[in-house]
Every structure is written in C-alpha cells, then in structure tokens.
Symmetry: C2
Subunit: 516 residues, 2 copies
C-alpha cells in the first residue's frame, strides 16, 4: 500500500475521530505486526536436487499435462498462450508456465479495514491466519458437535483478541445452521464487523466470490477495492493435476478484481501424490505452476500465493497424518521451489490428527509450526485451532496454538548483537559465582528479555497442585471464556455497518434456503 | 573404534556364541543406529555475530577469568600453561583456551558392550540419551512420588526397549531409597546388566567416578577400557564461570582414564547468565573453552563434549522455562560456536516445565527437539522422559518422547532423489484425477515410505470414541506396561555378571550408609 492510499483511507473514515477510535481499540486487544524473519531458511534440497525436481515438473506439465474441467474459457486462454489442448487436458510446453508465473508479484499488501492491521505477504514475511474449514467444533464443556454461526462468530472474536494472529481468516468453522447458499454472507459479515484484521473471501461458487467483492466494496469503498487487494482467498487444486471450474471460477473472479488467491495443491501423500517426498514435490510444483500461470492468463499481475497443503498417510488406516517428518521435508523443499519461482508461499499450520487438544496434538502442531517458520512460509493458514485432521475447530486449541505463535515471532527476530545485547557489562558486574537477577543489565532488560506465554503454567508444583492440578486444555478453556467476555467489537462507521447488513439481508431474501 | 578393536571384543566374548546371542537380542528390541544428518544446520548467527561473541568470550577469560574452587592442582596446571593465577581466579590470555581445546578429538566412539550399539559422537551425528537427574517419578497410576531403584531399573528397561534411543544414559532418576554414597553402584549395575547400550558414569565424587571406571573394566575388560572410551559422563559447570572441585575431580578421573566428559554450563538465563541471548552465548563459550581446555591440560586428547544446558527464566515467578524462543536461539547459536571450536556438541532435550505430560509439555518438548536437530547437536541428553523442569522422570512422557525421536531420524535422513524417489513413473501411471493408493510405485514403497508412530492415534473419531476416547498420556501408560512386560534382559557372560555383583556387594559392605 502506498502512503497515499493509507492517508486516503484514513481521510475517508473522517480523520481525527478514526484515529482516536484506533487508539482506543489498540488498548482493548493487544496486537503484533506480521513476522519479518531475521533468521535464514532451512534449505534441505541442494542445487542438484532442485534442478531435478524442476526439470521433472516441466516434464509433467509438457508430457502428462493438467485437466481444466468444465471450463472452455480456460482452455481457450491456454491455447492462446501456446499450450496443447486435447479435450480438457492442457499440456504446457516446457518453460511456458514458469514464464507466465513471472508476472505475479513477489510481494503484495493485503489491506485491512484498520490500516495498522495491513499485512505484507511475501519476501521475508510470515502472516498467520487461523484454522479454515472444519464442520465440527469442540470445547471441554460441550464436546464435539456441528459448528454453528454462533461458533463462527466466537472464533472471529477470538481471532480479533489474539495478539500473535495477523489475519481473521475465512471459514474458521462451517456454520452448518445457516443455508449452504447463504452462509458465505454471514461469514463475511462476521469478519467485516467483528474483526478489523484482514480476511478471506468465499470460493465455493463464482457468484459467492462476487458477493465477497461487493461486500468488500461496501466496507472499503469501491474505488479502494478496485485499486488494492483486500482479500486473500483459498483456491484448492484437485490433486492430482486437476483444476475444477468451481475453484477456478472463484480464482477468475478474484484475479479480475485484483484480489489475491492462494493456489494450493491439497495432497495426502500416497493418495493424491506419490508416496515419496521428491515425487510429491514434483507434482506440487507442476500444479502450482499451472494454477499460478492460469491466474496470470486471466489477469497478468494478479496477486497470488503458491500453496502446498501436504500431509502423509497412515498406510494401515488410510488416515492422513500430521507433524510427520515427510510432511516437514515437503514443506521445507516446497519453500525452496516457490522462492525460486519468485512467489509468496503458503504452507504449514497447527496441524494434528489428534481428537483432543492433548500431547499428540501439541507434538504434531509444534513440529509443523516450527517447520513453517524454517521453511520460509509467507502465509500460514490454520495457524491455530486445527484439530482432528481438520474436521474440528477446537476452542481450547485455538488459544493454545495462538500462544505458541508468539514463540515464532521471537525466534524469527534473530539475535540482538547491540552493545546491550552483548551484555558484557553484566558479565563484568557479576563475575564468577555471582548472580544476575539483581544486576543493572538485568534490571534494565528483564521486562522484554524473554517471550512470555499468556497461557502456560510455570508455577511451583505445590501451588499448581493446590489450584486443582489443571492441564493445558483446562487452562485454555478458562482463557477462552475470559477472552470472549472481554471482547469488544472494533468501531465501524454506522453507515457502513448498515449498508453491509442491508446487503446481506437483501441477498438472503432473494432466494430460498438450500442445504446442499 | 578400529575394526581391530571390534574384532578383539567380539573374540573376547567367545565369538560365535556372542554373535548368535546378538542376533537373538536384535529380534527382541528393535534398534536404530544413531542419526547421521543428511540435512544442513540452521545457522542464525552471521560471521560478524560469531566474531563478536568469540572476541567477547576471549575478553571474559582474559579480563574476568574463571574460578577453580578448592583445586590447587588445577591452578598449578593452569599456571604452567601460561594463565594468570590470583587466589582461585584463573585469567586465561586470549587465544590460550582455544589452542588447548584443539587437542580434543572432533569425533570419538563410545563403545557399548554390544558393539552394534556403539555410538560415534561428533561430526554430523546425533546420539540420543534419556532424561538425567530427577528425584521424582510420575505415572498415571501412582502420581508423583520420590524415585526408587525399582523406578530406575524400569527406566533402564524402557531405554533398552526404545527403538529410537541410542544410549542408556546415566541417572535416569535418583534412586532415593538407596544410600547416597552407594546408589552410583546400583545405577551403574542396572545400566550394565539391564541394557546393552552405552551408558554414563558417576560424577558426584571423584571416587565414584573411579568406581565407574573399575566396573567398566569388569564389563569390557581392563585393557579394552584403557584403550577405548566406554563412558560419557556429565560434568556441569557452576555458572557463572565457576568450576568446583567435585565436578572437576570427576572430570580429572575420566580424562586420565581416556573416558569422555560433557563439559556443560548449566544456565538459567537471567540468573546464571545475562538476560540476553548474545550475552549468554558469550558466557557459555567462555565457560566451555575454559572447561575443555582444562580437560586437555589433564590429558591432551581426552574425549570431551562441549555442552550448553540453557533455559530462560519466567521473570514473574523466577521459574526456569522451556521450549522458549530464547532457549532455541542460544541452542542454535551455541551449535555454530562449538562447531567452530571443532568439538562435539551437547544440548537440547525433551525439555518442558509442565507438571503433566499434556499439551504444554509436548509443545515445549517438540520445540526443543526440533531445535536440537537443526542446531547440529551431537549428543542430546534428556531426549525423553523429562517433566516438570527436570524434577520428574515421567513414565508416560518417556515413551511419548521416545516415539517422537523417530521423527528426528526421518527428517535428518534428507530427501531421496533416486529414480525411485523421484516417482515419475507413478505420476505418469496415475495422471490427472487418478489415485495413487493402488499404483505400482505406491505398492512397491508403501511399507517404508513414511515414518510410523508406535503410539499416536490415527483412528477415525467413532472408533477412537468407542475405545474410550483415550488421550495420549493414557495410551502411553498402556505402552509402558506392555514394554515392561515384554522386556528381556540382553545376554551377559555369567562370569562378568557375577564379578559385577561381587564388586557392588563388596563396595557396599565396606562403608555404612550415608543419606547426605
């Protein structure tokens, strides 16, 4: 975003009053800027490995090709670009997809209605967004149950209150009590009114993507949306090598509107891709190149994120597995490949297969969060709240994961080598056998010296035992209630609020409910 | 170890019989070789940062110096080497400590009584050893209680049965029901008879280190111990900058006997070192250089591991904290510094502050295990079983962590870029929209394609729910019982077994019990 654009938006929202409101908001919910890494990536593929995989991906695109299903317009665009069309199969000559990808921006700004919450996606940055898609929710009190719009709103509120989360996300859970053909309206309305962080648009039909653009125009102003990116939406590829017209239809709407899409293979290794890491990386790269190239055929310069949602499979049960070493290798390797493509990279998340927010969930999640940081991920969807292989949005795990996201912030910041950071005065003052707690350097630095959890228990055993010997999930449940109690909606211009409500009401009234 | 040495030992244990016994043993407990990394380290300090910290560490040693307490012989050795002695303070001219460190081997073999369990410590390797030191144990059935020798033996048995664990460790818990002045005998006896993996010696008094050497000579043969390293023992530095005579006394015994010591600052950042990462790294490096240099003054060429046990502190409660970003930065940075010193590196572990094997424990542990792998750690003590800041050895967490160690093995192995690994035949066979589960490549590879947990639950929700909706700790408790039931002691020459039992009995009978 240019400085002008920020000034323009501040102005449009009536200047001083908006600034004062922003100030008050800031005291309500703590907020952290997106991560900019000051540490290197972990690169597990050497130059030879990268070249083999890149050459193989080009071979896949040229010899095997990809299917664009029910999408004659897409086939025409591909043909004009020089691809070989055979039915719905698109075979892409070597080099073409990579050349087309080059017009996609390496970094872009996604604007939030509160400009302080804008995020820069790409480069050395990491933007964290919550869980996406589960039909169920779980909490300690209510157990596992179908998600409702009330749950949805609760999760948006938790997101607004979560210091280390930069993005309000999209389908934080499926509001199954709202008609399928109308729930996107309620979901967008919740993100727009209950949060001032950036959000995602609907992808379940092209016309729902159009609703997302229209509602964004009400929120931001039509001119602003025409000239800026205010949504990042999730476009999954039907791996292997298949692009369906629903997802591509949403991508087309967003690309034409200058809005961002995540083009993301969705792969359970061994089912939708080869069982080997290098084979999966080859397919991921081929799919991403084809999808991103297509976005650039629709509109050169459209902002896009190269995704990789990859898990492995339990060969006994066929269940997807999370936090595994193979998934880590793919996430790390794909990061290298996407950086060589010059594209922002989406991967990782608070992934786990566990049914409960227990130790399994935390091992699997921590493995994946750490991998995401080391892999150079730029946009991490599912960064908190994911449970049971993505079937469940967990209230407790949401705040547990969101607390761990603070660890990533501090780790990414790197090591302070300033004179104060070197601490030589402290070592001189204390000397052999001394104690640092009281020394001047410690007194001057202790407040910000260490990351602080907002959840985990560091009390002595006896105190903890007297207080009920509570485990992490129990403490998290208490925190969820506290956050929802303390939540306050960010200010919104009453005219905009009314216009949004009107849009939703009219759209809902125009057609009967459909539940499929 | 030379091939000759291996042959000699096989011979000494009566050849064919030993080989047959080794074969039978192998079928009892699955075993994995130590990790050799095929992925790079994560290096968070750039060249300038490394040079600043190294220069500061030299300044600390020259200007501030270190204390060698109650140890006139050490002061004499330092004086002869060119250090400046002032009371117990040793000021080491710049460059001297680093020069002395150069005679320590970059890699050494620690022998196990089963040569297949030998470990190579240093280089690209990672050797995993269990928790060390807790006075308490915890399990789901019995809760938290003082550890006994029965617990100790149980943990040694679990270690022998743990596929991904390479080392039997040392004080896997404190057997508080055995006299303080005799428990080292029972602990060593347990490691020597119940496990055939390598083990650690006693460090709590120099004469207990001597007992460790004597018992090792019974187990391995005196000649063999004179010429090979069969113990790696933990020598903590009293940070800041203090070397006490008890720990140094043990180090002296081991160095003279050609046995390995881990020379390890024990630091809660903000208490025993500056609150800043760079300040702590400076002190860690200074302490390690002084300690390792001293080991080389005692005997040039003595095997030694440069350690860094570092946690941060909760500035509210003063409690040590684990799995934090600052601890990760120190672990990563210290790895770089120790590699530049040319020494094997000990750090990380299954660290956590939680009182229960719950999500907090798993987040903190996974953060630290992943960091240890990325930091180039060569010897990871506490790799499983650590709970409650090291006060508790947890039965359940032992097997939970030990399962996660398998993740490190696979991740470290890197990506297979062979033709089979590339999987192009599979992508060709399946094509767009197909399914990989049945394809030839998947059928040929599925058995070894993915790391497999021996603990975590991947069942569908309904099955899991019907089976009792068990969390990870509950499943781990069941696994503990199964492992202890299935445990079989590795064969041991009856003559050696008798001689060991005699040594312990005579030593115990020689002095009255002491409980302080």
């Amino acid at each position: 975003m240019t400085e002008d654009a920020i000034a323009e938006r501040r102005g449009r929202r009536s200047g001083g009053g908006a600034a004062r409101r922003a100030e008050r908001t800031a005291t309500r919910a703590e907020f952290s800027r997106f991560i900019t890494r000051n540490i290197p990536d972990l690169e597990i593929l050497n130059a030879e490995a990268l070249e083999i995989i890149e050459a193989n991906a080009e071979t896949v695109l040229e010899e095997i090709g990809v299917n664009f299903v029910d999408n004659p317009a897409a086939l025409r665009l591909w043909q004009e670009a020089g691809a070989d069309i055979d039915g719905e199969r698109v075979r892409i000559p070597k080099g073409l997809a990579r050349r087309l990808c080059a017009t996609a921006p390496a970094t872009f700004t996604q604007h939030a209605r509160n400009p302080e919450r804008n995020v820069e996606i790409g480069g050395r940055n990491l933007v964290l967004a919550p869980v996406y898609g589960p039909p169920f929710v779980r909490d300690q009190a209510g157990g596992r149950r179908y998600a409702t719009i009330e749950d949805f709103r609760n999760f948006v509120k938790l997101g607004q209150m979560s210091k280390w989360l930069h993005h309000s996300g999209g389908t934080v859970c499926e509001p199954t009590d709202v008609a399928v053909n109308k729930r996107h309206l309620d979901m967008l309305h919740a993100h727009m009114t209950l949060s001032d962080k950036p959000y995602m648009g609907s992808v379940t039909l092209p016309e729902r993507a159009e609703d997302s653009v229209e509602m964004s125009k009400i929120l931001f102003g039509a001119d602003f949306v025409d000239r800026n990116t205010v949504m990042t939406s999730l476009v999954n590829i039907n791996s292997p090598l298949t692009f369906d017209s629903v997802m591509m239809g949403a991508l087309e709407v967003y690309a034409r509107a200058g809005q961002a899409s995540i083009v993301s293979p969705f792969i359970v290794g061994g089912a939708m891709a080869p069982v080997t890491v290098a084979g999966t990386l080859t397919q991921v790269l081929a799919e991403v190149m084809a999808g991103v190239a297509y976005s650039q055929l629709v509109r050169a310069g459209a902002p896009v994120i190269a995704g990789a949602f990859v898990t492995s499979i339990d060969m006994n049960s066929g269940a997807p597995t999370f936090g595994t070493p193979e998934a880590a290798q793919i996430t790390l390797g794909a990061g290298q490949l996407m950086r060589r493509l010059g594209l922002p990279y989406r991967s990782a998340g608070a992934f786990c297969g566990s049914k409960l927010p227990d130790a399994q969930a935390a091992y699997e999640t921590a493995n994946t969060l750490n991998t995401g940081l080391m892999a150079g991920v730029n946009f991490m969807l599912h960064a908190c709240g994911w449970l049971e292989g993505g079937l469940v949005s967990s209230y407790e795990k949401y705040v547990m994961d969101a607390d761990q996201l603070g660890v990533l912030h501090r780790l990414a910041a790197g090591v302070d080598l300033s004179e104060n950071g070197q601490g030589m005065d402290a070592i001189r003052e204390v000397g052999p056998g001394g104690h640092y707690l009281g020394c001047a350097h410690t007194q001057a630095n202790y407040k910000d010296a260490f990351w602080r959890t907002g959840l985990l228990d560091y009390k002595p055993f006896e105190t903890w035992d007297e207080e009920g010997a509570r485990d992490t999930a129990t403490l998290a449940g208490l925190k969820v209630r506290r956050m929802l109690d303390e939540y306050q909606a960010p200010d919104l211009d009453p005219g905009i609020a009314e216009a949004l409500a009107d849009y939703v009401a009219k759209k809902k009234a125009a057609v009967p409910d459909a539940f499929v």
